[in-house]
């Protein structure tokens, strides 16, 4: 195996490990941190089914963002839906052997890359040209968008221009990572940049604002049922505090003066 292939193979496993361990730790942290009070934001769902529907609308359609700002919604949604379709399409590289037929349905969606890139360009533009958003942006906010943009553009170049890479070889390399049958990869610059940034992105996922992905599911204002009067909602630390609190149950039963 070439030095480059070895480096990328190692980088993949390193990034994957950081991603998996980091995300597991974060999700565990969110999971065990209690939400001591009921704080759903209106319009609130009164049932668990309502919460599932609300979360689905939030995650699939970006409902709240739509309410807020149509341009940010448009660019944000285009980017995310584009990314999702592109990611699913990438299964064909990692899947060892022939892809199940269901994935063939996704193949025409290679143009989703354009949605992704257009969305990202829009988001970068907003960050630069809208004064308020420029004010709240840190260097990492630009960097994140630029990384994604380079990933998207380098991928699109390989798909839509004459700079194709050897996809058979890519498949061998990628599926080899999954099955531990390591293989050489093509070394066109587009592919190297593309993969390098993807691996970096995986590694910084659990230590960056990309945590919004698990975060949204744990957001108490979005995932709580509005039933505070019907069911006593109490966190473990509050219950413990209640049991050892200076104001004990008996003491609240004093005589009327």
């Amino acid at each position: 195996m070439s030095a480059i292939s070895t480096f990328f193979t190692a980088l993949f496993y390193l990034s994957l490990a950081i991603f998996l361990i980091g995300m597991a730790r974060k999700i565990y942290q969110y999971w065990v941190t209690p939400a001591p009070l009921k704080i759903p934001t209106a319009p609130t769902p009164l049932t668990q089914t309502g919460v599932v529907m609300r979360m689905a609308r939030e995650v699939v359609l970006f409902e709240s963002l739509f309410k807020s700002n149509k341009w940010t919604w448009l660019f944000g949604w285009l980017f995310h839906i584009g990314l999702l379709l592109v990611l699913i399409r990438h299964a064909r590289y990692f899947w060892p052997g022939d892809l199940p037929e269901i994935f063939l349905l996704i193949q025409p969606f290679k143009y989703a890359a354009f949605a992704m890139v257009i969305g990202l360009v829009g988001l970068v533009g907003r960050r630069i040209f809208v004064e308020r958003i420029r004010y709240i942006s840190a260097p990492s906010d630009y960097l994140m968008l630029i990384m994604l943009l380079v990933i998207g553009v380098s991928g699109a170049i390989m798909t839509f221009t004459n700079n194709h890479t050897d996809v058979v070889m890519v498949k061998e390399f990628a599926s080899g990572l999954i099955t531990f049958n390591w293989a050489d990869m093509p070394t066109e610059i587009n592919l190297l940049v593309h993969l390098f940034l993807v691996f970096v992105l995986m590694a910084i996922f659990p230590i960056s604002k990309l945590l919004h992905v698990p975060g949204v599911f744990f957001s108490p204002t979005r995932n709580q049922v509005d039933d505070a009067r019907k069911k006593r909602h109490i966190s473990p630390w509050a219950l413990k505090q209640e049991q050892s609190h200076e104001v004990k149950l008996g003491e609240t039963l004093g005589e009327d003066k």
Binding site: Q29, P220, T221, Q241, T252
Partner: protein, 524 residues
């Protein structure tokens, strides 16, 4: 600081998002609390020596106790969706009043001390040290947030600046930098039982005066019972209802509705406060201590129902938090909650809002109104932020928007809503909530009122609206103060139950308890 000169914002036909004006609302913040007011709440009397260390430790504790804090600090992507949603930003144009920038005051310190990127690449991710300047900014800008949660409605992750501002205020209190207004009031609430420090005899006198006044005016002996054991309903209302204008006319309305229904009810001198500023300062413990007085009153007075008067954050604490804090509600499985819940009548929602109660009576045709009594008014309704975004009424979706409007429409003929994007879940705060209702914050209160005033001005111009109804004591006080600054009549703000009071037809014969007989003799 209160004497600083500033311009009253103009009211445009449409709200324009202002260009940012860095530092325009910089300042020392509201008056600081002193040992006298810090001590009863268990906070240090002045800024402690090792404040920095203590603050970071407290931040760590808070993020491990509140999922909201941890998730919200991590999840913001700086998309900017919230940047034009805060009434304080729209009114002041200070960029640190944009919700995300306000949170970032806290988040940048979180990143510096609790995240890998912030520890090793602070510049890259905007991580900052908690120095004196930063703490001053916290104090100043977290007291320019009314915790109204409008930003949370529009955030794709539901990030609620109120949660961050509560956390920041708790950290500030713990290092000895408390706000005088809130902490002084809380001291009274948890020792005397109400925010005004009104003791039982004073309260009794006030209520007797009120009874006399109503009887003089209407000839009907409407009672305001205090500490009557065995009553069916315990009414917990903001203490402003006892003396402030226009609040007291709302209290008159509640009394008339109770009277007309013939239900036995009482207030408690031990727990004579619906407001709970413990929420504003973000302290679970202090909020609980204030709420426990209500629990004790309910148990001592052996009531079967607990009802809450017109107060926004009180209703949030009651509806959303009482069951958690004290067990006023249903569905408990622990000893603490069960004790009270066995006593409460499970046929009614516990606690119940006075609007839910009146609405229910209207639905069942128990109340008769002469709507023409309110014909001189054209009315609009201001959804108070805590009621609108943090509670429900009637147990139906969006009931907190529907019920108050139905009650108002049942008692008056001319009703119009303000622009849809400024009401219901998108309502603009009055500008005085969240512990900001103090004269030393008058500048931000006036500037923050601009978006609400703008929407009101439009319905005044188009529909001739001359009456603004609110169901929140803070909104009522705030509007009385700021309405004239925007060329409105300060008396246009009224309680929902004032309109009820004016239209209700009182015809029920007196019950025969001795108190009302005495009262009848007086009139004859």
């Amino acid at each position: 600081m209160a004497a600083k000169e500033f311009d009253i914002p103009a009211l445009p036909t449409y709200i324009e998002i202002p260009e940012i004006n860095e530092g325009i609302m910089e300042g020392d913040g509201p008056f600081k609390s002193s040992e006298e007011f810090q001590d009863p709440l268990g906070f240090p009397g002045e800024k402690v020596d090792n404040w920095q260390e203590l603050a970071i430790e407290k931040m760590g504790e808070l993020k491990s106790k509140y999922r909201s804090v941890q998730v919200f600090l991590d999840s913001c992507v700086k998309c900017g969706a919230c940047t034009d949603k805060c009434h304080y930003f729209l009114g002041s144009s200070d960029p640190k009043n944009m919700p995300v920038a306000r949170q970032d005051l806290f988040r940048s310190v979180y990143r510096r001390h609790f995240t890998f990127a912030g520890k090793y690449f602070p510049k890259l991710v905007g991580a900052k040290e908690l120095d004196d300047k930063m703490l001053d900014d916290w104090y100043n800008y977290f007291h320019q947030c009314s915790q109204c949660r409008r930003c949370s409605v529009f955030c794709p992750y539901g990030i609620d600046t109120a949660e961050i501002s509560m956390a920041a205020r708790e950290v500030l209190d713990v290092v000895g930098v408390g706000q005088k207004y809130c902490n002084q009031i809380l001291g009274k609430a948890i020792t005397v039982g109400n925010n005004l420090g009104l003791p039982e005899p004073a309260l009794k006198d006030t209520l007797l005066d009120l009874e006399e006044e109503i009887e003089e005016e209407t000839g009907i002996a409407v009672k305001y019972p205090l500490d009557v054991k065995g009553s069916e309903i315990l009414l917990i209302t903001p203490s402003a209802d006892f003396f402030a204008e226009p609040h007291i006319d709302g209290l008159i309305g509640y009394g008339k509705v109770f009277h007309q229904d013939g239900v036995s009810w009482t207030m408690s001198s031990y727990a004579s406060e619906g407001a709970n500023f413990g929420m504003f300062i973000g302290s679970y413990d202090v909020m609980r201590r204030a709420a426990l007085r209500i629990r004790k009153a309910a148990l001592d007075l052996e009531v079967s129902r607990v009802m809450v008067g017109e107060c926004g954050h009180a209703w949030r604490v009651a509806y959303s938090f009482w069951n958690t804090l004290t067990g006023v509600g249903a569905g408990a499985s622990d000893e603490f909650g069960l004790k009270l819940q066995n006593q409460l009548d499970s046929r009614y929602p516990q606690p119940q809002h006075i609007i839910e109660y009146t609405h229910d009576l209207i639905q069942r045709d128990k109340l008769k109104f002469d709507k023409s009594e309110n014909d001189d008014r054209t009315v609009t309704f201001h959804d108070s932020c805590n009621v609108a975004r943090a509670t429900n009424m009637g147990g139906i979706p969006n009931g907190q928007f529907i019920l108050p409007r139905e009650v108002i429409k049942a008692v008056c003929n001319n009703y119009v809503d303000m622009e849809r994007s400024t009401i219901m879940e998108s309502t603009f705060c009055c500008g005085g909530g969240g512990g900001l209702l103090t004269d030393d914050l008058m500048e931000i209160r006036i500037k923050g009122a601009m978006p609400r005033m703008q929407a009101l001005k439009e319905v005044e111009k188009t529909n001739g609206v001359d009456t603004l109804v609110a169901i929140c004591a803070i909104c009522k006080s705030q509007f009385s103060k700021v309405l004239p600054k925007f060329d409105f009549d300060p008396y246009m703000i009224v309680s929902a139950h004032q309109l009820v009071s004016e239209a209700i037809i009182m015809d029920k014969p007196q019950t025969d308890d001795s108190a009302s007989e005495e009262a009848e003799e007086v009139t004859e």
